[in-house]
């Protein structure tokens, strides 16, 4: 190990081999049987359960927890998958503290919700480790549907359509399927190549053909897809990244956080990944937190998240923020970048303190500088290359509750479409619901 956390610049190998293994191991491993039983025992089997209402895919949480409690975790898994075919990934990555667990009546009563996410993982991991698949395809209908994007929205849509007996062709620009499950989510939430394992498991339903490396607008046009299929679903996510639009953005070692994260997810060997000594992350969402925490896990000496508004407005949950700070990340709020400095490579970022006023955010003339040999931009992603003719609103494809776009025969869901938060679980819900509507309209 030639480098340490103190080595200046952006260099690989800051840590010992064991440290990498430890840092990127499964953050919250599967509960043991006894732990699961104790956790399940706390559920009250609520009427019209608030946790279920809070789940974007409406999983019957009291039922699946009771099934765990009565010693039938496989039945619990089926209850989960019936609503959410990516229940395995969602169990790992859902911000449960703002979804089901926030709504749990025991959160209100005791500040300690039933551990729904971990119980969900307990059940789904168990069933997914077994041979076979919990669902079977209906008889082939002879209909075919094109799904663009193999992220959670596209795959959830494809699975539901395949289950109904339709033939599904999935087109995705990237080399591997999974979307941000494969290229985005934090490494320690998706250990042991779970994203690919989940895709393989999901495809066991049959009737789905993946075409990786095929981009809509490049290798294939919407008109062709419409002509050759009975329906088209767009689940292309947000492929673009918002820029800072301040001087110095082009300096070396100033990067998009999502690219850094994608690289991490694809890295076989974490010690080969270069990371700065002093890292600054600009943004306030999950991407900012994931980039910052993982920079620390790679051995960065100081990592600072700088967010332009107040802490309460950060879209990363309180839980995520705590995770960041307990990983040694400093969070500075109410400061916006005004310039990046350096010759060739970045060395400093200059910020202005801000005031959040009714009229908007105002930069004050009080500024400060942070040393930075690496800067990650995490101020949001945007939709790029949306096919022409689709109505957009605030940068997203306009859809109705059933996922219909303004063009007949075309549905959309997930991050690229309006409605709901940009979360894995929301994408799954929208993909599934669009599939139901597609099924109803082509059958």
């Amino acid at each position: 190990m030639s480098n340490t956390s103190l080595t200046p610049g952006v260099v690989p190998g800051r840590l010992a081999a064991e440290a990498y293994a430890r840092n990127f191991a499964d953050a919250a491993p599967r509960l043991g049987r006894h732990e699961a039983m104790v956790a399940a025992d706390r559920c009250y089997f609520c009427f019209d359960a608030p946790c279920t209402t809070a789940c974007p895919t409406s999983i019957d949480i009291p039922l699946f927890i009771r099934q765990i409690a009565t010693g039938t975790p496989d039945a619990a898994a089926k209850t989960i998958f019936a609503q959410n075919i990516m229940g395995g990934m969602c169990a790992r990555v859902c911000p449960t503290e703002t979804l089901c667990e926030e709504a749990c009546v025991r959160e209100a009563a005791e500040g300690k919700p039933v551990e729904i996410g971990r119980l969900q993982r307990y059940a789904t991991d168990g069933l997914m480790a077994q041979a076979g698949h919990p669902f079977t395809r209906a008889a082939a209908t002879g209909k075919s549907v094109a799904v663009v994007g193999a992220g959670p929205a596209g795959l959830a849509c494809a699975h539901r359509l395949a289950m109904k007996g339709h033939a599904v062709q999935v087109y995705d620009a990237r080399p591997k399927p999974g979307g941000l499950n494969e290229y985005g989510l934090a490494t320690y939430k998706t250990a042991d190549d779970f994203a690919q394992a989940e895709v393989d498991w999901l495809l066991r339903i049959g009737g789905i053909t993946l075409h990786q490396g095929v981009s809509l607008g490049r290798e294939v046009a919407l008109a062709d897809l419409r002509a050759s299929h009975d329906a088209v679903f767009l689940g292309v996510g947000l492929a673009g990244v918002n820029g800072l639009r301040v001087p110095g953005e082009d300096l070396k070692n100033v990067r998009n956080a999502v690219d850094f994260i994608a690289e991490l997810r694809q890295a076989g060997d974490y010690s080969s990944l270069p990371v700065g000594r002093d890292v600054v992350v600009i943004g306030g969402g999950m991407t900012a937190v994931d980039a910052a925490v993982q920079a620390r896990l790679l051995g960065a000496e100081t990592v600072t998240i700088v967010y332009r508004r107040g802490q309460e407005k950060m879209s990363a949950s309180g839980y995520e923020q705590n995770h960041a700070t307990s990983s040694g990340v400093r969070i500075i709020c109410n400061a916006a970048p005004v310039a990046l400095h350096g010759t060739g490579a970045v060395t400093e970022v200059e910020f202005a303190h801000t005031v959040d006023e009714p009229g908007g955010l105002r930069l004050t003339d009080q500024t400060f500088r942070l040393a930075a040999d690496q800067v990650f931009k995490a101020i949001g992603q945007s939709l790029v290359g949306a096919p022409e003719g689709l109505a957009l609103q605030a940068g997203k494809i306009v859809v109705d509750a059933a996922g219909r776009t303004t063009l007949p025969g075309i549905w959309a869901g997930g991050d690229c479409a309006t409605g709901g938060e940009d979360l894995t679980v929301t994408a799954v819900a929208q993909g599934r619901d669009a599939a139901e509507d597609i099924h109803a309209s082509i059958s």
């Binding site: 049987r33 025992d41 706390r42 089997f45 039922l63 009771r66 099934q67 009565t70 039938t72 039945a75």
Partner: protein
């Protein structure tokens, strides 16, 4: 998904899960909600004579026992039979049965102990198209003082007599519901069979006082300063019910008499246990009163999974499967020797096994200065107490000694099957 369809004394239902005669089955509103949730059948809340309906207390009807996290473990009630007019019930029963042809609907009855009363009520229910009747000889409070319910159920001759009247005056299948408030459950079951019953169902509730108010000095539930004994039910009564079901299932005089198992059934597993001990189906009351009708989803998925795992084609493959293995103490193998064994990797060193054995059993668990707990085979009598008090499941297991090996406690070799009836210490053996 296994086939859960059930036929009990000719009555068909899509699954063997029925609701017991109680508040959950007191009116069409509840029963239809239950059917919508997936229950296979119901026994309608007990009907009485026409005329002014019974009157319930208007204070609390229930007492309860809870676990530490307020899980309801046992419920006690002082409710009577239906307090709604007979005709209203009959009209609703008829309408519900018409609408839900595939579900079982049995009517529970309790009228005074004379032939005219029974003949009369049977005539009244004739055209409801219900699938059968259940004779409530079990209610331990309120009705018993009026010579009905468990007052009948405690006298086998009355059971036989009333059952015979019912079979004489009605073509409906007849289930006799037994009270557990009796010393030998086989006697009323035999009487029911002699009287021509198609089946027995058990248990009804157990006489009980759940708690005493230590400020007002009265039993709970307290009605204006006084309390009375009520009927106990819920998870706490399951072991008592299981034994009574097994006793009837294996008793030569009642073997083969269909049984509907009741008492503390809350999960698929409880139901499967009752069925393995000979119950053709089960009835549930307290569990739905605690959690609502939706729990049947878990019972359906759980039993189905279990049957798939076991390769059972129908519920009949399960019914009675454990009955041949229920025996009397005297036939247990006294040459079967086991020793407790502690898995040190899962032991959390709480010491509960040690103190239980040390203070109250056979001083067979040693503790080292490093808090390592080990079983002394030479002292372990294999009572199983340590297993039951250990907080870690499967940490302590009972490991059988191989045949031919020496038991370090007795110095004797483990031999072939041998029971008390032939044991040298048995005085009646020595006498021969």
């Amino acid at each position: 998904m296994a086939n859960l369809a059930s036929t009990f004394i000719g009555i068909k239902s899509p699954n063997p899960f029925w609701l017991a005669s109680a508040p959950p089955t007191d009116k069409a509103y509840n029963v239809e909600r239950a059917f919508e949730a997936g229950w296979g059948g119901v026994v309608w809340k007990t009907l009485g004579l026409d005329g002014p309906p019974v009157v319930n207390v208007s204070g609390p009807r229930y007492g309860a026992i809870w676990g530490a996290d307020r899980r309801l473990l046992g419920l006690n009630n002082i409710e009577l039979i239906t307090d709604r007019p007979l005709q209203v019930n009959l009209d609703e029963i008829k309408a519900v049965k018409r609408k839900w042809r595939d579900r079982a609907l049995v009517i529970s009855l309790m009228v005074p102990c004379d032939e005219e009363s029974w003949k009369g009520i049977l005539a009244r229910i004739e055209d409801t198209e219900a699938d059968g009747v259940e004779l409530n000889f079990g209610c331990p409070h309120g009705m018993a003082e009026r010579g009905m319910g468990s007052a009948v159920g405690q006298v086998p001759e009355y059971i036989e007599m009333v059952t015979r009247w019912v079979k004489q005056h009605s073509r409906m299948p007849c289930i006799v519901k037994l009270t557990p408030n009796i010393s030998d459950i086989r006697k009323p079951a035999e009487a029911a069979k002699r009287g021509g019953a198609d089946a027995v169902s058990l248990i009804n509730t157990i006489n009980s006082i759940t708690s005493v108010n230590l400020d007002d000095f009265a039993p709970e539930p307290m009605i204006d300063g006084k309390g009375t004994h009520g009927g106990y039910c819920g998870p706490a009564v399951k072991p008592i019910a299981l034994n009574m079901v097994a006793e009837i299932a294996r008793h030569p005089a009642t073997r083969g008499l269909p049984i509907s198992g009741i008492g503390g059934v809350s999960t698929w597993r409880d139901a499967a246990e009752f069925m393995a001990l000979g119950a053709g189906n089960v009835q549930v009351c307290t569990a739905v009163m605690t959690y609502g009708f939706k729990i049947v989803s878990e019972m359906i998925s759980g039993l189905s999974d279990y049957m798939d795992r076991k390769g059972f084609a129908s519920v009949d493959d399960l019914v009675g499967r454990a009955v041949p293995n229920v025996t009397d103490w005297q036939f247990l193998n006294l040459n079967y020797v086991t020793k407790a064994q502690i898995d040190q990797t899962s032991c959390i060193k709480c010491g509960r096994c040690h103190i239980a054995c040390e203070d109250t059993s056979h001083q067979a668990i040693a503790v080292s200065p490093e808090r390592v707990f080990t079983v002394k085979d030479e002292d372990c009598v294999a009572c199983n107490l340590c297993v039951d008090v250990c907080p870690v499941e499967n940490c302590i297991t009972m490991v059988p000694l191989a045949k031919g090996s020496v038991d370090p406690r007795t110095g004797r070799r483990v031999g072939d099957y041998g029971n008390w009836t032939t044991h040298p210490n048995n005085p009646s053996v020595a006498a021969e």
